[in-house]
């Protein structure tokens, strides 16, 4: 399977609110990321727009429903639809999350946590092997934000991710906000998490806002907070290869210039971190 070459761009998620901006103007981004499932459809306007955007920008397809941690294996119909989209768009890469969303009977449409056990690791690796083999390309998997841990956990999340990449050859989508959210919720050190990961496998970073509270929730509905910017700076100073950085906003989506300004801030921090 071919390797994913490092790519050091700065991009945004393509959301319906900004379709006109992307179609009418020259939006200064190096790539756009789309939610795969929104375009795993047979036809219509959304697909036509994505194809038009693809003519101007590299596209990453980022899924939320592969359910790579499902004990029951992957949904073959889902894989077929994803491959159809992948062939239509020829994305920079295909990514999803380290989580599960479905049993044989139901789908949560929320990213549910996995127990960090050897059994779960083997399930995840078998499913990644199946997905990568089906798509004929390696994938990226994102570290999730989580709101509970399991008494049966046998390892830290970064150990789980390290072993997952080692066994399957997959890459990492490092969500810095998710590290912060989970670290705050479960009381581990975000720095330990970063240093425990195989950072050479990181190809992309997500940045987003969260809702503070007794349990911090990953809501993507506001600006990136200062602590997450600091953690991003540390990540960028530590990761040796170029990585793609993206701002995620899925709720209370502001006008495009506001997101571009946030992306500029990421670029400045990345430049400072790399030169320091």
């Amino acid at each position: 399977m071919t390797a994913i070459e490092p790519f050091g761009g700065f991009g945004l998620g393509l959301r319906r609110t900004h379709y006109a901006d992307f179609l009418d103007g020259d939006v200064p981004v190096d790539f756009v990321e789309v939610i795969s499932e929104n375009y795993m459809i047979d036809g219509g306007r959304p697909l036509r727009i994505l194809e038009q955007v693809r003519e101007r920008h590299p596209v990453i397809i980022h899924g939320v429903s592969m359910s790579i941690g499902s004990a029951g294996g992957l949904d073959e119909k889902y894989l077929a639809k994803l491959k159809q989209l992948e062939q239509r768009i020829d994305p920079l890469w295909v990514s999803d999350h380290l989580c599960w969303t479905r049993t044989s009977a139901h789908n949560s449409h929320d990213l549910l946590p996995l127990p960090l056990t050897e059994e779960a690791l083997q399930v995840v690796c078998d499913n990644i092997d199946r997905a990568q083999s089906y798509l004929g390309r390696p994938m990226l998997f994102e570290n999730p934000s989580s709101y509970l841990t399991f008494p049966e956990d046998e390892m830290a999340e970064w150990e789980f991710l390290s072993e997952m990449t080692r066994r399957t050859g997959c890459y990492l989508l490092l969500d810095v906000n998710n590290i912060y959210v989970s670290a705050q919720n479960h009381g581990f050190s975000a720095d330990d998490y970063l240093t425990g990961l195989p950072l050479d496998r990181v190809r992309q970073i997500h940045l987003a806002g969260h809702t503070p509270g007794e349990i911090i929730i990953d809501t993507h509905d506001r600006e990136v907070c200062d602590d997450v910017w600091t953690l991003y700076g540390k990540a960028m100073a530590t990761i040796e290869q170029p990585v793609a950085t993206m701002i995620e906003r899925d709720d209370k989506i502001p006008p495009l210039p506001e997101l571009l300004s946030e992306l500029d801030h990421a670029l400045s921090l990345a430049c400072e971190s790399i030169s320091a």
């Binding site: 047979d42 139901h106 949560s108 449409h109 709101y147």
Partner: protein
């Protein structure tokens, strides 16, 4: 949970807790776990209800926010999502509305219409047959070919019988403050839904049109549709009238761009 449980067992139990507030927490779980589970439950419900609100915007406007919220919450409990696409969460919501709004049967019809329009919006793109193409393909048809003619509609096209004027309801809902139209029909009508220039659209018609459309969609020939419209034991005159009506329907479907291809 006990140590002998497999990951599949644990996931089934976890999903049950996400779907149902009253499912017991596993042994060994404390308050912190319960708080975390509440976040997952909340995320699940809000994402599915938001998807329903997005799909059924007009239905929500028609019944009001509070009534819609109750119906959506009921639907999430009775029809938990089972497929990978969140859009499917709205599947069967017209039946939920039929059950919950028994005294307002137009609600279920409006919900059906919105669902059909969502399906049409993302259906496979197929170019409709135009009048010129139809004329060219049917140029040499004799009586036998016309009788055998079968129509294939665009993949986005669908129809059903309704008892309310959904057009007047739809138009009224276009206003910020709308007045409820007298939409109840004395006799059944039909609604046809399809996608035109990347926009879902619909038109009202006779009940006969829905019957003919569904028959044609199921592969019934034009000749058989004429007989269907004429009814059993029909006279020659009735057959003649039915053939004229069937021809008018065929012309309407062609003019509206609902037909993908014909074969005889």
């Amino acid at each position: 949970m006990n140590a002998s449980q497999t990951l599949a067992d644990r996931q089934a139990a976890f999903m049950a807790q996400v779907l149902n507030d009253e499912a017991p927490l596993p042994a060994g779980w404390g308050d912190r776990h319960a708080q975390g589970m509440n976040v997952y439950r909340g995320n699940y419900r809000s994402s599915v209800i938001e998807a329903l609100k997005s799909t059924y915007e007009k239905t929500e406007q028609w019944v009001g926010e509070a009534a819609f919220q109750r119906a959506a919450a009921h639907h999430v409990i009775t029809n938990p999502p089972s497929t990978w696409t969140l859009d499917d969460a709205g599947s069967g919501f017209d039946a939920t509305c039929a059950e919950l709004f028994r005294n307002d049967p137009e609600v279920a019809e409006l919900a059906w219409l919105e669902w059909a329009m969502l399906q049409a919006f993302t259906a496979e793109n197929v170019r409709p047959l135009d009048a010129e193409g139809f004329a060219k393909q049917s140029a040499g048809f004799g009586e036998e070919e016309w009788a055998k003619l079968r129509v294939t509609f665009l993949p986005c096209a669908t129809a059903r019988q309704v008892n309310h004027d959904l057009r007047s309801i739809w138009n009224a809902l276009g206003e910020d403050e709308f007045e409820r139209p007298q939409a109840r029909h004395d006799t059944p009508h039909s609604v046809l839904v399809w996608c035109e220039s990347e926009r879902s659209t619909f038109m009202m018609g006779t009940a006969e049109e829905a019957r003919a459309f569904k028959s044609a969609q199921a592969g019934t020939s034009y000749g058989e549709i004429c007989m269907l419209l004429a009814g059993e034991d029909s006279s020659e005159e009735q057959m003649h009238d039915a053939a004229i009506r069937a021809g008018a329907l065929l012309g309407r479907w062609l003019n509206e761009g609902l037909i993908a291809l014909i074969e005889a």
